[in-house]
């Protein structure tokens, strides 16, 4: 069986939906960030697959850049979570209610 573009797209869609579902269902901020990484990963798979499909390197470069951005985002996200854990002893987003009405 040959692996075609469709397979990559289906894989990416499943990954994206998994990430989305996890983001909606889970309440632990770190797990939510991990789910977001899954979504970014799905987008990267789409980019890489289409890059091959269109025979154009632009998509590959995009993937590298989005890696770097995802890392930076994760780094800042984790740093902020560590800071809030120090103050609150929790990273459950349902318990962060100082700013709610």
């Amino acid at each position: 069986m040959e692996i075609t573009l469709t397979h990559y797209l289906v894989l990416a869609t499943l990954l994206f939906l998994t990430g989305m579902l996890g983001f909606i269902v889970r309440r632990n901020a770190i797990v939510m960030l991990m789910c977001i990484e899954l979504m970014l990963c799905a987008a990267n798979i789409v980019l890489a697959a289409f890059s091959r499909w269109h025979l154009d390197l632009g998509g590959h470069v995009f993937v590298l850049m989005s890696f770097a951005v995802a890392a930076a985002e994760a780094a800042i996200g984790l740093a902020i979570l560590v800071e809030i854990y120090r103050r609150r002893r929790t990273v459950n987003v349902d318990e962060l209610t100082t700013l709610m009405e």
């Binding site: 390197l57 590298l64 850049m65 770097a68 890392a71 780094a75 740093a79 560590v82």
Partner: protein, 123 residues
Amino acid sequence: MYTQLLPVLLVLSVAVVFAAVFLGLSYWLGPRRPDPLKETTYECGIPPRGTVQIRFFVRFFLVALMFLLFDLEAVLLYPWVLLYGDFLSAGQAAFALGEISVFLAVVVVGLVYVWKKGGLEWQ
């Protein structure tokens, strides 16, 4: 279409059956006389203490983040390397070198910042 994958399937099924049979046999035939000492976790011969889910020291996070960031900045050099030939043939090698130097300078500023702020100290 699938025929070339048949050997792989065969190996997999043999492995699964083999493992299942022997695990089942040992479960069925083996004597079981549990006592408290046998049920404890094996930890290199010393008595185990604490729980499995310990909290990591927060410094590990910091080191991991630093590693992640500087590691991924190295990835960004690859496209530049790929394109350097094009720049060379277009007579723009100095520009390409200049640009990557600016990039590296920014990374170095980041490193100096982390260093001076004590991000690399363990204490």
